[in-house]
């Protein structure tokens, strides 16, 4: 199997969480003998080649960070320039986001079915997972640990060509957290997470409180 893989994040490759997820995913594909070509929507210079590759490839995987419950504006801008295919091409998606619960990604996932149809292609499923916001801020070892699970999904995709299996559905984790977990995580939000965000801001050279209101 050969797949065209599009990183749909507007973030430059170096800072993109999707990019790190794809590194692991592709490792799994490669283990199973699949090949792939990767391109990045954040780099407009690649758009001509990407359009050509979209026309030529029969297996396409678009990896997307959720942006306000749907796909990012920049990815829409690129997709608007494609010519619909109607030649049996299959598109599968990796949809990932910041919030941790599966339910947070379902509205975005629903759109991907509509999108596939509009592009004249066949829907090959979506691998859905949240809780990825922190990847950008983690040290290399933690990133490896967090993204490692995607390698197995890469194997699965290479073998099945889609994300319809039970294994892929389970990959999402809980749709919502049970009450006791929400209580605990709620406390973490007010304590550990808050100080973590403040530290990250300080490291970035932020000189204002994070609740600063510049326009009032």
């Amino acid at each position: 199997m050969h797949a065209l893989i599009i990183n749909g994040s507007p973030r430059v490759k170096k800072f993109s969480n999707t990019d790190k997820i794809l590194d692991k995913f592709e490792a799994g594909m490669a283990e199973k003998g699949a090949t792939f070509t990767r391109c990045e929507v954040s780099d407009r210079k690649q758009w001509d080649d990407m359009r050509k590759a979209f026309g030529e490839n029969k297996n396409i995987l678009i990896a997307i960070p959720l942006y306000v419950e749907n796909i990012p504006g920049l990815l829409i801008e690129f997709l608007e320039t494609l010519t619909p295919k109607n030649d049996g091409t299959e598109i599968a998606f990796i949809l990932q986001g910041g919030f941790a619960e599966g339910v947070q990604l379902r509205c975005g996932e629903a759109y991907l079915k509509i999108l596939t149809e509009k592009l004249g292609c066949k829907y090959a499923g979506t691998l859905v997972k949240g809780d990825n916001f922190g990847i950008r801020f983690m040290d290399e070892k933690t990133v490896q640990k967090i993204t490692g699970a995607y390698t197995d999904m890469g194997r699965e995709y290479a073998e099945c060509g889609n994300f319809f299996s039970e294994k892929c559905a389970k990959f999402t984790g809980p749709e919502i957290f049970p009450v006791h977990v929400r209580l605990l995580v709620g406390i973490i939000f007010k304590t550990l997470a808050k100080s973590g965000f403040k530290k990250a801001a300080k490291d970035w050279g932020c000189t204002k409180p994070l609740n600063y209101r510049p326009y009032k």
Binding site: Y67, V68, G73, L79, Y111, I114, V185, G186, C206, N211
Partner: protein, 168 residues
């Protein structure tokens, strides 16, 4: 104040809105965004962690952002593509991020970001073209959860009267 952002180049929709609003006591401001320079969001997270509340992209979106935080309602007029808002319409939403903060909390059973400003704006959509309307309604309901507000509905550009009846 009601803020209406027209991301399409078609001013007839704004004109029709102006005409309809003449008969109401609503204070509304229409911004013609198609004439403005508005980039997509680049996901830098500066608005949360480096310059809280301020976008790192110095373009015309700042004008909209400043008005938005004083508005009771935000209406976005958008062309559509691939069954959804086109990129210009979606960029208006992606760039809203500075109105939220990095901090998190649970609202009901789901995580949300804490709002930066006390006042919230409800959101309505007016579309041109042929989107998946049911999906657009679902999306607007869902998107507004992130701004602690509610959806005012989704209307086609031929339903201006109906849209204006929700502006108060």
């Amino acid at each position: 104040m009601i803020l209406i952002v027209n991301t399409t180049a078609d001013k007839s929709v704004s004109e029709a809105l102006r005409e309809e609003l003449k008969n109401s006591a609503v204070e509304a401001e229409i911004v013609e965004a198609s004439e403005m320079k508005i980039s997509h969001c680049i996901g830098c997270n500066y608005c949360w962690l480096k310059t809280p509340g301020e976008c790192s992209i110095k373009d015309d979106y700042e004008v909209i952002l400043k008005k938005m935080i004083h508005a009771k309602q935000l209406w976005v007029i958008s062309d559509t593509a691939l069954g959804f808002l086109d990129h210009k319409g979606k960029n208006i939403f992606d760039r809203i991020l500075p109105v939220a903060m990095m901090y998190l909390k649970f609202v009901g059973d789901q995580m949300r970001h804490v709002a930066r400003y006390k006042d919230k704006f409800d959101i309505g959509l007016i579309y041109k073209g042929d989107p998946d309307v049911d999906y657009l309604k679902r999306w607007n309901e869902r998107a507004t959860l992130n701004f602690e507000s509610k959806s005012l509905g989704v209307f086609s550009a031929s339903e201006i009267k109906e849209a204006v009846s929700c502006m108060h």
